[in-house]
């Protein structure tokens, strides 16, 4: 029994501090508080069951995110019945044409960078939320893992099960898409303001 208590204590010590991070990711994946809570709880219970397999000294946060992602995909696939990776890759290749176009649109605007930077100040919390939520899922997860959780490319590659090069290109495209949509929201807010 004592052995279990130690295991439990160790798990709580190292894993529970990442609750907010996991929840914040979960809600960006499922868009629903209740579903996010379920997803996070399932992740923790699964992690605890398999805590023996966690390699001590490696990044527990990355390990937890990987379990969260797998749990999400399993659930998602069960209910919506989507084949995961192949589907994602297809989306990526479709999007790549799209984003090149968007990238060039974006480049035309770089001379107004200062205006844009100032306009970001007009953004409301909801705008940021919508901009993130509307990103294709593989861009979104890469951005959140990198920009919010500050995980290394290596960890993100491990979590999302793709090579580092793919992580980098997802971050590149994803960030550009995100900036574009944020900028559009900001512009709208700016017009509203000036109109008054």
């Amino acid at each position: 029994m004592r052995e279990e208590n130690n295991r439990r204590k160790e798990f709580e010590d190292v894993a529970m501090e990442h609750l907010d991070s996991l929840y914040s990711m979960a809600i960006r994946l499922v868009f629903n508080r209740e579903a996010a809570e379920d997803l996070v709880q399932e992740t923790y219970l699964k992690a605890y069951r398999f805590f023996d397999t966690f390699q001590k000294g490696t990044n527990i946060k990355a390990w937890l995110f990987k379990i969260l992602r797998n749990t999400f995909i399993n659930k998602y696939r069960k209910t919506v019945n989507l084949p995961s990776e192949i589907f994602y890759e297809d989306v990526e290749s479709v999007n790549s044409n799209l984003s090149y176009k968007q990238e060039s649109d974006f480049a035309e605007l770089t001379d107004t960078l200062e205006t844009k930077y100032n306009d970001l100040g007009n953004l409301m919390e909801d705008d940021v939320k919508h901009a993130i939520d509307n990103l294709p899922i593989e861009y979104k997860e890469a951005i959140l893992l990198s920009d919010v959780e500050e995980l290394s490319y290596n960890d993100i590659a491990e979590i999302t099960n793709v090579p580092i090069g793919t992580v980098k290109s997802r971050l590149n495209r994803g960030r550009k898409l995100l900036q574009k949509s944020l900028w559009e929201y900001a512009k709208d807010r700016g017009f509203i303001k000036r109109g008054k």
Binding site: E4, L19, V40, N172
Partner: protein, 277 residues
């Protein structure tokens, strides 16, 4: 360092994924180049917006205690399993190391080649209902995860080797709803007249959940220590082991066992649809 290169490495620089020796060079350029600095500040601004928004999303306080509670039930489950394991290990030890059993097994082996199966049968017939469920669950997990369809422990009757060739379809992906339609006699959607190992798990796919059906006895036998449920004219026994539910019932003189990780009511309903066909 020129602007093109700086912009190229800007993300890596911001992500702290750049070679340490490059870091001061890029930083110096950003400090001294108005345009690159603007770009850098813009990227940083977007990042901090996203970060601030996400960090603002925190888990509700009750979720923490709910999870801690959940960990407790995992603990309870683990220690329960340990107890079961300890009991069955004790049994096995006795069975395996008793010199008398050794002598009997050896003489049977020497006298008749196939005798080993009878020995196995004898041993298995003495199993109680709880270990039958445990075996069914193990078999289920093996069948679903490894696409394998055999488990010596549920082998009761029949010649194992007969089915060990390539005749069994072990590819779960193209086995839905039936794993081995050729080898198993099917009547009304369920396998008949093959049992034990020779009736490998038949896997049903129910909305992504896998259910496995095994014939565990080609006879009826007394079931004890399991929850009994009457559904229409039919009687079912429900067992739970390692987080899986099993439903056992008898039909046409055979004993069937359906196993899955779906909840009790669902698995019971599914069992009922199988039997009423």
């Amino acid at each position: 360092m020129v602007c093109v290169e700086t912009i190229k490495y800007l993300y890596a620089f911001l992500d702290k994924e750049i070679d340490k020796s490059q870091y001061p060079i890029i930083k110096e350029h950003i400090d001294n180049c108005f345009e690159c600095r603007q770009r850098y500040e813009f990227e940083k601004g977007v990042r901090s917006l996203v970060k601030a928004f996400c960090l603002n999303t925190t888990a509700p306080t009750y979720l923490h205690s709910k999870i801690i509670e959940g960990l407790g039930s995992v603990d309870a489950e683990i220690s329960e399993n340990k107890d079961i394991q300890a009991i069955s290990e004790r049994k096995v030890t006795r069975a395996v190391f008793s010199p008398r059993i050794y002598a009997i097994a050896a003489s049977i082996l020497l006298l008749i080649g196939g005798g080993v199966f009878y020995y196995t049968n004898y041993y298995n017939y003495n199993n109680d209902s709880t270990s039958i469920v445990d075996n069914a669950v193990k078999n289920h997990v093996v069948a679903v995860n490894d696409n394998l369809v055999f488990n010596e422990k549920t082998s009761v009757v029949g010649n194992v080797n007969k089915y060990l060739g390539n005749t069994i379809n072990t590819k779960l992906s193209n086995s839905s709803p039936l794993l081995n339609a050729e080898r198993i006699g099917i009547a009304g959607g369920i396998p008949v007249k093959f049992c034990g190992t020779s009736s490998p798990c038949v896997i049903f796919d129910k909305g992504g959940n896998k259910l496995s059906l095994q014939i565990i006895r080609n006879s009826t036998f007394p079931i004890s220590n399991l929850e009994r449920v009457k559904l229409g004219p039919k009687e079912f026994y429900i067992g739970n082991c390692r987080g899986f539910n099993s439903v056992i019932w008898e039909e046409d003189g055979s004993t069937y066992c359906l196993t899955s990780d779906i909840n009790k009511n669902e698995i019971l309903r599914f069992a009922a649809t199988l039997t009423t066909r």
